[in-house]
Amino acid sequence: MQQQTMSEIKTILRFITAGSVDDGKSTLIGRLFYDADFIPEDQLEALRSASERKGLQATDLSLYTDGLRDERIQGITIDVAYRYFSTKNRKFIIADTPGHIQYTRNMVTAASSANLAIILIDARKGVTEQTRRHSYIASLLRINHVIVCINKMDLVEYNETRFQEIVKDYMDFASKMDIADIQCIPVSAIHGDNIVKRSDRMLWYQGATLLYTLENIHVVNDTNHLDLRIPVQTIIRSPEFPDFRGYAGKIVSGVLRVGDELTVLPSGLSSRVVGIDTPSGKVVEAFAPQTICISLDQDIDISRGDMLVRQQNLPEVTQEIDAMVCWFGISALKVGNKYILRHTTKEVKAIIKDLVYKVNLADLKREHEVSGFNTNDIGKIKLRVTSPVMCEPYRINMATGSFILIDEGTNHTVAAGIIV
């Protein structure tokens, strides 16, 4: 079951859509669903009647992803909305993100769980500040695959030269970033060119349609299967089975086998694995991202927030963290501020020691003279935590390299952190 080859099993691909307001994201997703026949009849009916009420002649496909009432009234998308569709070999989860500057946080949020990003560019406008911003966020969060949809090709006469110009612009600037795989597709969301059906107005384009690319793109396995890390979620005990003591959690990276000698961090105690329970029953081997419950040969002191690892492969255990953060808070992030830091299943207090630099999202330059981060700022900070966390750089391990900051007064999540 778990050892089939990739073509035999249906896997999940999570992606986001990003672009400036009015580049056509909503229309693109609507078109994708419409042409691929993913929209149920009753929802299509609702779309038609909503379009009619707005006095439109054709069905406005962009209404399909516009969720909440205020947004419908304002005619804009303001939060992250999730959509689902499925083809034979893949289940797709789309997080639709807004293009407004003030909603950088939503893009970061959606990007944190995506393996692929579709970035839209208006063919008339070309690469904009927003395009750069979105691509930067995608690379910061290590989305390895980017599909650049150059939209509204109908408004530039389906012109190949214009397309190539934009591709060159994009590639020039993307080469400075860390994105493994970039593909560019000329589309017209409103007319459906190269979304699900091949365009007969751009015969010069030899590549695949958007849907075909999504279905067939080879997603490099982003999961780290080398470094065993199991943050403990909870301990399972039961009066009916007095001898049972299970350590429950998710293998966030690595592979675990019965017989393995595990070390508990931060205590450093160790014990041998005698049993692994997964949702599908007992196994001798389990791997990320499976949820498991482990039995050990000795009762040792383990609690939520501890991490189970192998002695010869340890993460860093530290109280000093250097990280890139995206700031969501209303009040500014300043040196000396204190927050709750949640990392894997552990919660500690943190104090901001230094604001190293802020990234100017317009030109991606670093600004070293900073007194505070405002909402939607991204930059590098140093912080200190009250008790050690078991971490490593995000680029090596996303699960142990990420954290959030929580405001103690409001309980709001005020920052996303990426350990460098």
């Binding site: 778990q2 099993i9 909440l68 303001i78 689902y84 949020t109 009916e240 089975f241 939520r304 999540t413």
Partner: protein
């Protein structure tokens, strides 16, 4: 050898992780049990998450008083099979005590009144987190709800001020009197649920499979004929071969004509079907934004 999970295993793993987080982060979490396939799946996942121990959640059923007999039977069997504790919040009683008024008029239902009973029940037992079987593909307003969804001290949802949810780090911190709704199967679709039910062999109430029943035809809607549904002028009463795609309050749960009598046949039907599940619910048809309005007030 490749270490990969297929989509159902990945969804299952994600859900179990969330359920364990709910248990670890809250003092008195409960499961909202409607008797429908989503909450049945949720209970199944919760049992797996804590096996071999019993589920550490009380089951809460908000009873509108308009139940299918099958739902109540199934509920009680499930409770005893899982050795769980059940709490029933009665809408009937809230109405009798004058806490909420019975709706009047042609399309009167107890759907909205449920919110009052739900919030009261949570408060009465001091539940600080309620796990639900809500899925994002059900409805537009649900599509943007968080997995850990905050409710203020009035039980209200503020869709414009939701906490960003990053990676799988869930922030369940709250002030006294507030609570969370938690949706472990947010990312499952109706078809995913059915595929999982088949894979796991989860028993379901017979209502989900084709059966002969005395029904009321009201426009495009088919309702079960029962003492709770007031007949209207144009209603036609007839025996039909039907099944239900969702199960809730009997007076608003629409049936579909179907001959699908087992899980395989239902799956074939779901794959072919061109209607969403909620498309059949009178409560959502009232206005385009009705689910969102109800959710803001504290509905499931």
């Amino acid at each position: 050898m490749r270490y990969r999970l297929d989509y159902l295993e990945e969804l299952e793993s994600e859900a179990i992780y969330i359920i364990r987080e709910a248990y670890a982060q809250f003092e008195r979490p409960c499961i909202l049990f409607s008797g429908g396939k989503d909450s049945i799946t949720l209970c199944h996942l919760a049992a797996k998450a804590f096996a071999p121990a019993k589920i550490p959640f009380t089951l809460v059923h908000i009873d509108t008083g308009h139940n299918f007999l099958e739902t109540l039977q199934y509920r009680d069997e499930l409770v005893s099979r899982m050795s769980a504790t059940l709490v029933v919040g009665s809408v009937e009683q809230s109405i009798r005590e004058g806490k909420v008024a019975e709706e009047k008029g042609l399309y009167a239902s107890r759907n909205r009144a449920q919110t009052t009973t739900l919030l009261e029940t949570l408060e009465m037992y001091g539940f600080d987190a309620a796990l639900g079987g809500g899925r994002r593909d059900e409805e537009k307003a649900r599509a943007k709800e968080r997995v850990f969804s905050h409710r203020d001290e009035f039980g209200q949802w503020d869709p414009k001020n939701q906490r960003p949810e990053l990676w799988d780090i869930y922030n369940g911190r709250k002030h006294a009197g507030e609570h969370f709704r938690i949706f472990p199967i947010s990312n499952w679709t109706e078809l995913d649920i059915w595929m999982y039910i088949r894979k796991e062999g989860i028993p379901l109430p017979s209502l989900y499979f084709s059966h002969q029943r005395s029904c009321i035809r009201r426009g495009n809607t088919i309702l079960a004929n029962s003492e709770f549904v007031k007949l209207q002028e144009k209603d036609e009463v007839m025996d039909l071969q039907i099944r239900f795609r969702t199960i809730g309050d009997l007076t608003i749960t629409g049936a579909i004509i179907s001959s699908a009598s087992n899980v395989d046949e239902v799956i074939d039907e779901v794959i072919l079907s061109r209607q969403t599940e909620r498309g059949m619910r009178a409560d959502d048809l009232r206005s385009e934004a009705s689910m969102e309005d109800r959710k803001r007030e504290g509905y499931f």
